[in-house]
Amino acid sequence: MYRQGIASLPYYLGIDRLDQIATPEDRVCVLNILGGESRTVTPVSHAFSGGNVVFGTSPGRSGQVLKTPAGDIPVFNSVLEGLKAGHRFNTGVVYLPPSGVRDGVAELIRVNPDLRKIVIITEKIAVHDAREIRAMAQANGVDIVGGNCLGVADSWSRVRIGGALGGDHPEESLLKGSVAVFSNSGGFTTTIAQYMATAGWGTTTLISSGKDVYIQYGARDFAHGFANDPRSRAAVLYVEPGGYYEKDIDWSKPVVACVVGRWKSKLTRAVGHAGAMAGSGDSAEDKERWFIEAFGTDGVFTAETPHASAKGALVTNIADIPAALTAVMALNDMQPDFPPRGSLALKPWIANDQGLHLPPEVALPLVTAPDPYAGQITALSDQIGAVIARQGMKDKSGASVMDPKTQVTSVHGHTVLDLALQPLNAMFALPLVHELADAHDRALLDIAVSAEVNLVGDPILVATDAARDAGNAPNAIMAVAAAITGPRRVERALACAQALVELFAKSDLRDGRDEAFDISTIAVDDETRKLFLATQDEAEDPRPEAMLEAMAARGGRSVFLRLLQSFGERLSRDAILAAFTTTIAWGPMVRKRISRLTTETLPWYLRLYGVMVGATIPKEHHQSGSLWGIPRSERFQNWTMADLCCLAMTGKKPGPTEALYIQILIGLLISNGPGAISAQGAKGAVAADGPQTPERVQINKAMIGFLTHSGYSHGGNGFEGMAFLLDQFQGCSLTDPTDPAHGLDLKAMAHKFALSYKAEKRYAKELGQEVRALPGVHHPVFKGKPENFDPRERFIARFMEERGEYNIFHDFYRHLVRELFEVGASPYVFCVNIDAIIAALLLSVLWKDYQSGALSPRDLETAAFTVFLFGRMIGAAAEIDDHLNRGRNMDTRTPAAACGHVL
């Protein structure tokens, strides 16, 4: 049952010519105009079409309006209400959710006798509803386009009805020309128009048909309107498998058909577009055949096989459409509508190879995007450094993570085990630049920190000595030093770093050490220049020159320092420090590994490193020009961070083995993940200052947060292992713990202790007391097997073995766990844990001085705590920087509901 429209057709079709599909006279009513999709699309359509939407509906929102660049569109509860308000329309657009579409169509048809067309945008309409919609429209003489489509548009009359053909800038793609487009794919309707423009072809009418089972405005309907449309010299069809819509159509004018979807025949279910299921005889291959037969060509048109006739060409890739169209039209003596616009060649807009050397076919050079995108991309690239989204960082970290299985923590992708084998100065840089520093950058770091360690003449020295005299543990002493290293003490160094970043931000400099970089391109105004120069008050400070000499002696290179030195005036220590840190950070920053904020705050961290290490050295050893007797120039030019740390702990430059041990110890202690108390202290301090206003966050106070959150239990207990070993080796004649020919019977020593421990256990059990735990033995995770290993201990042990290093204390521990089992003091062979390694290495470093009486047991305890603090100082810097970049204000607090009250 259908109303008779065009006489020659056995069904209703009202649109006789394509130019009737979207005309300037059409007046539109949009159902669900305030829905999510319509709200963004309708204003663009309305403005593009010169204001063709008379009203929209949204139940319960009568009286509201949809704002558009072409004026407000009134909203009514229903179509009837809009009509009663005096509005008239001939075209309905449906943005209703799927379940409401059928009723919306019924409403449009029943209450508006002027209705001629409906465009249904909604996708996933039930076939049940689609068949009833078809029947209603046929019976009442209404043309429908869709559903599951993007509507229709006319490039000649600049009218767009329904969906978003041409996106938010329809004028970019809907170029007036001579080709009609009919596409099963909404997205490709626009894409095809855009592709055609590259060969000089514009469009007349564009129809996104949808690809549901019911294509309400199908290829046959299009063919009729196309034949009668004098504007359209050719048509482009985009067709997917499924349905017989394109079969046996007589195309009166040239056509390029693109059939895509051969792969779908492999599937047995509907894919993508709901109706695109290959049934019998309507697969992609079948449809290709229909068109090839209709066009009388020999096959598919490609660049290599340009099969085309005056009737048309079949392509299977939309990229071939422009060439096929040009070829077909040439056979009809027809030329393109306008000169080609743009090309379809590969044009990467944005890329980052992350420092990799990619082959040329992958590393395609960037191409400037068309406007307005080029401007937007430039604005993006002005954004130097990584941009990190903020989020609640309570108990979370972007810097560290502990693997619960292996108990191994990683910091910025490097496990502490790997870090333990890295030079110490590389570890100090990692938390801040997120990459392992190379030898050159490590040297800069050594100089920068060396310049901060000697505190002679600085009030810090008085304060820390007072703190030491007051009986404080090393963490409290370091905290005093950190507290004095407040914002004003780094103000100029940070300003220098900021100025350097600003000066070079748009310079295309990739490597801060680039000798070939032309610094004459960097213009520095007088005020900025002044910022870098030493003041009169600093005339006596010998360090700037010493730093520059050390830089030259170590073969350092820095674009930034080169610029500053080009001023020909005396530079301040702050300026040189900032030049060093910016040199180290520049590469990671432009590779977007770190943020600009991190680069600009780097001097503060290095100053804190130096001051905190310096604070652990008693006052009397800080002398003008020397530290613990080491002359300034030697320290600046030759010493490493490991040497400095060892000096702070032992009062002398370490030998190679000692330096290695200190490096391993510090590496192992860097981090235990964000859950560690020390990390929590640092993170809480950042959260309390408010990382969302990063300039107010006191990084020194965050260091204090870590220091106050370490103590005799968390950090100081490293001494327990040493104390245990001292007990075992009391009175023995050991002189060199690294000499395997020590002459001691470790097995016997271990056996003796195991027996006594077993007795102690039995006794404690009888009394119902808790048995003391042995430091360095056993682990709650690595247990239960006949023989157990802590993978961290194994890693270090293997490394030592490979190097031919021997450590008697470690060896004793290995005997101990076996003997404990042999005598029945343990149910299986316990593991030797990581604490044992730490105790063994540290005691080995300190053994000789302890034996000679130079170090007291109290000194050993201080040394154990200090080495922990040096390690954690690095880990804390990582957490502070991470929280500063990622966190939100006060994000570490616990909601009241999650807190408990106990009595």
């Binding site: 049952m1 999709e37 963004t40 699309v41 996708e123 996933k124 309409i125 039930a126 076939v127 049940h128 509803d129 009833e132 078809r134 029947a135 969906g163 996106g167 099963n184 794919s185 909404g186 997205g187 490709f188 626009t190 894409t191 855009q194 019911y214 294509i215 309400q216 199908g218 997917e240 017989y244 895509v260 979807g261 792969w263 047995t268 993508g272 577009h273 709901a274 109706g275 309507d282 890739n317 990229a319 060649a345 807009w349 944005i350 890329a351 980052n352 992350q354 990799l356 076919e361 992958v362 395609l364 995007a369 995108y373 937007q376 991309i377 993006l380 992708g413 490097h414 977007k592 590994r593």
Partner: protein, 424 residues
Amino acid sequence: MQVTGMLTGARLLTHVGFPTSEVLGPDATEDQIQALIDKHKLIFVKPLFRGGVGKKGKAGLIGRARDLKTALAEKERLYFAEHRHGNAVAKANGVTFEAGVPADHEVYFAITDDTRFRAPTMTITHRGGVDIEELDKSEIASVPFDALTGLKAFVVANALTRIGAPKEIISPLVQHLPKLWELMHHYGMTTLELNPIRMLAGKDGRLTPVACDFKCGFDRDDPRVGRLGLPDYLFAADISDFEQEVNQLRTHQGQSDVFVINDKGTILAPTFGGGANSLVTEVLGDSAIISSDFGGNPPYEKMKAVASICYRHFLKQTNVLFIIGGKSNNTDILETFRGMGDALREHFAKHGPVPLYVVVGRGGPNLVRGMGNLADTLDSLGVPYRFFGFDSAISEVVAYAKQVDQWMRSGGRDEIARAMNISA
């Protein structure tokens, strides 16, 4: 979403009172089978397939038995039978025992939406029981009818008369067949096929149509399907865990079906737009892991959820994460890219980083903001990438993604792994 066979079919047909053969399921006891044989003399043993399995390729997969011993032997033979047709392979899990219906006439009947007429269409022939493609067109009637008034008795009568059906079957069919429209239209079916309907003679000689095989397809977008209360497992055939999980998020706002193309593939391509999906899947071939269409302006949360599922199932094997679509019309690029980027960040944090190269080809609202957001995420993860705008041909970008995949396979993956300090 298809159902075949009489076990479920008989249940569905009772909703509209259409006569069916008696059927027992795989859990039938020997006593029940014996009773069925006693009553009907002949029974058919058929493998029980989930999903859609047509007649084609079923030769040899039907057992007939007149005694219990044969019935049990056939049960054993067919219980895990495999059905192959083209690329589709179905494995049975169980058998049905269906009563033989003695009859002189077999009828084929189907209702489906025919795109030639754009209307519901009845197809009928009195020469049923075979593939109807084998019959002469003059023996088959394909008749569209009005969806609003439905399948009427006269439509059936006229059609049967036109193809010269025996007079004695016309009246009973006219009486019963219109009921099937009620079943199809009101319970969310897209197609319903009974073949054969056997015309069983009653004591008075009057014939009754009895459905002896059943096949229907359901519309997954039609909530009416829920009225039948069919268990989910009926539709779970051949769908991977991934497909089940990801397609649960399917709504009208973004994301059509997602399919696994090759679970050993190396390019993970979240694709936007049905057209792009077709093109990309075709050109990527076996390199593609999935075929997807995430267009339709999915909101951030949904995009992130879908991306998370894709990453969890496939990122480990992925060389190229390929985000591809044309110039979107209304899909917000910032929202979708932010969703996919954040999901990647979280995946790396939870499951560890993987060596990856990201290729993007896209256009649409908030394009550069979206690209900038994704670039920031990838920079922070140390993942290399290249983004193309809408002015590069989508097919060229697909070819580029394949080229990157080739490079990844021949050492590139190791190189990226080294740079990211992870294992390849």
